[in-house]
Assembly symmetry: C2
Homo-oligomer: 408 residues x 2
């Protein structure tokens, strides 16, 4: 943010936002750290903290350390003061959480959809029902500041229309409006691609903290990619970028739900693992990995096949993006360790300069990367204007994911 | 550039740079346009123009238009006042040009390398010889302000070490130092990947003006990609991003110079066209297209095969990047029109939302996209500080391509 010509109020709001963001990301912090992080002087930081304390968003903590001179009191986020509703909408279930300021999960519940029941009205109705149950468990006097939803599909920004979600069978579903109307809340609703949100969360609190070039792979029935380049999410011209699951790698491969042949996700998505092992449809990835560990030849052969294709796509991503870190999320959390040799060999076959640099990682946030990324997208309004929002200034509005997560 | 806290001198330099950049990009311009473009008042613009006129970089032109009130004198860049040396280094030849302020090519020459003579010392020696011949043709009293070089390989920034150029057979060649030493000039030398420079030039003066998400494909023996996302070149963690020629698309395909099997460039690079048509090695793309047009069945079948693979890769790029424009440069300038049906069909098979949006284009700069992109990279020092540079303030220094072309 350029502060040329900013008024004193704007400067103060900007500084409050910077402090709130830092405390949300880092938790308990000493005043000295805040002084050194913000570059502001001690008394300005003191005044800003007093504002945040009066809003109830942060509280002072006992002095940390015992240095010479005045003790430095710390501050920490009050997680019960403000919270968001986060939804990870998958093909087979919805995961719903309340996440408090500072990033702690306050409440979490899952709901499995009945197989073949992916019509948007039913999905939204059932999901919103779970949301209401979750909201009933919210801390008293806490302020809901936003709703974030991750979905495995192409999402138009800023209105959250799902243009295409092949594995849900959705085309042009106005998910942002549907969720906002069904919830009946007056806070912003941000809809994001599941993998984009996974990348956001892993960069903020997970395996890719500090990395500027990150790819988060989300394996479910399909495979999505959240791609961060030089610190910014790859959105593309209209927000549909990152569909690496539909990179065609096998011209003699299987038909994909998108209509093409040989897309990467047809070789490494959940159903592909059972198919490659010759196991009955519906056999889980975990079952096949277990069978392979117990010596089952078909399972081992299937995993070798899947690992080979996983490696081909990963090597392509290394060549195309020269990333610092690739995070393997969703079902790929299980598949990567079971096929690691094949994947490593394929990466070694990529161009040496980027291959030597890249780190392959599992998500530090486990199965919750998308859920927590959805939470982060919903916190944006609060973090932009902490005092205004807790004073009741949140309004339902459309915000684009790119604006929300890169703070533009 | 944030101007908070900037001194008056810094503001003036910033404004001079903005005017020089605008005139360099747009040529002859009226004062009124400069006033409206810069947002500065008329007398400030007048003072800045007077400075640029005194430096010799711009001259006043006759009034354009006959509106009411005072006539608006125009200004235009003086192309003979300052120039750069641009080099497009290919596998089979070097193209060298002097390009004047404002972007006009003042002088251009080509030099073919003898086949199999790609040792870096010989290539550099022969290329520098051509450069000296070109420099002898420079306008009198003109100031050389920089050297830009495009090369088909992975280039480390900012020092211009070529980490890997498979089709030249180069590994870790310090091209920036070699060229600077051999030329013996005291101006900055910028080395860039050929496709990155092609993308820069086509966005600035070619088929992708005004587009924020652009892919420039450079077809030679290999295939490179210059990728612009949201207005910025995709560099990746270390500057090696964009190697889409090494996207593996055909697991049963040919061996690639990079060591892998089935890379995209083995199916659509220049040698692949002859191979697919069953023609003798060395048959040119133009010859095969001519034969196909004359009804030769093998040539037609070969082009169908190449077109199919070209389409697969282009569809992948559409799904991965959601670009506004893809520009087909180098040998792909000939291949795209000859295989257009197959490529269009493949793009229609990509995800609908990005596929409906993308435009496939030929380079408006013809065969010179990389050459002119190299020139632009070399103009950066002048455009940052026009008065300082023409006064003799250019020093040999290392500048990274990303800094140079995105003005960071």
């Amino acid at each position: 943010m350029s502060l040329a010509g900013a008024t004193q109020d704007e400067v103060r709001r900007h500084n409050l936002a910077a402090l709130a963001r830092f405390l949300h990301d880092h938790g308990s912090t000493s005043r000295s750290e805040l002084v050194s992080h913000t570059g502001l002087n001690r008394s300005t930081v003191g005044g800003l903290i007093a504002d945040l304390v009066s809003s109830g968003l942060v509280r002072e903590t006992e002095p940390v350390g015992r240095g010479v001179g005045r003790p430095s009191y710390g501050v920490e986020p009050v997680r019960e003061r403000a919270y968001v509703l986060a939804i990870d909408l998958r093909v087979d279930r919805a995961i719903v959480a309340l996440v408090g300021f500072g990033g702690d999960v306050l409440h979490r519940r899952e709901h499995a959809f009945r197989k073949g029941q992916q019509r948007e009205d039913r999905i939204v109705r059932e999901t919103v029902q779970v949301c209401h149950e979750a909201l009933a468990a919210a801390p008293q006097h806490s302020v809901l500041v936003g709703v974030g939803v991750g979905v495995p599909g192409l999402v138009r920004q800023p209105d959250g229309l799902v243009r295409f979600a092949p594995n849900l069978g959705w085309v042009d579903v106005p998910l942002g409006d549907l969720v906002a109307d069904a919830l009946g809340l007056s806070v912003p609703v941000v809809i994001g691609n599941d993998s984009d949100l996974g990348a956001v969360a892993e960069r903020q609190r997970g395996s890719a903290v500090g990395a500027s070039n990150v790819i988060y792979l989300s394996g479910q029935v399909g495979v999505g990619g959240g791609i961060v380049i030089d610190g910014r999410l790859l959105m593309g011209a209209q927000g549909y970028g990152g569909e690496i699951g539909h990179m065609r790698v096998n011209p003699r491969g299987r038909g994909c739900r998108c209509g093409a042949i040989g897309c990467w996700e047809t070789e490494i998505g959940e159903p592909a693992v059972a198919l490659s092992a010759g196991s009955p449809e519906g056999t889980s990835v975990a079952q096949i990995i277990e069978a392979a560990a117990a010596g089952d030849k078909d399972a081992r052969k299937g995993l070798r096949t899947v690992g080979g294709w996983l490696g081909v796509g990963v090597a392509n991503l290394v060549n195309i993006f020269n990333p610092d870190v690739i995070v393997f999320g969703g079902s790929l959390r299980e598949i990567l360790p079971a096929t690691r040799d094949a994947v490593d060999a394929a990466v070694e076959g990529a161009l040496a300069a980027p291959a030597e640099h890249v780190v392959l990682a599992l998500p530090a946030l486990g199965d919750d990367s998308t859920l927590l990324g959805a939470a982060e997208s919903a916190f944006a309004a609060l973090l932009d204007d902490p005092m205004g929002v807790v004073a009741g200034g949140v309004h339902r509005e459309s915000r684009g994911l790119a604006d929300v997560v890169s703070g533009r």
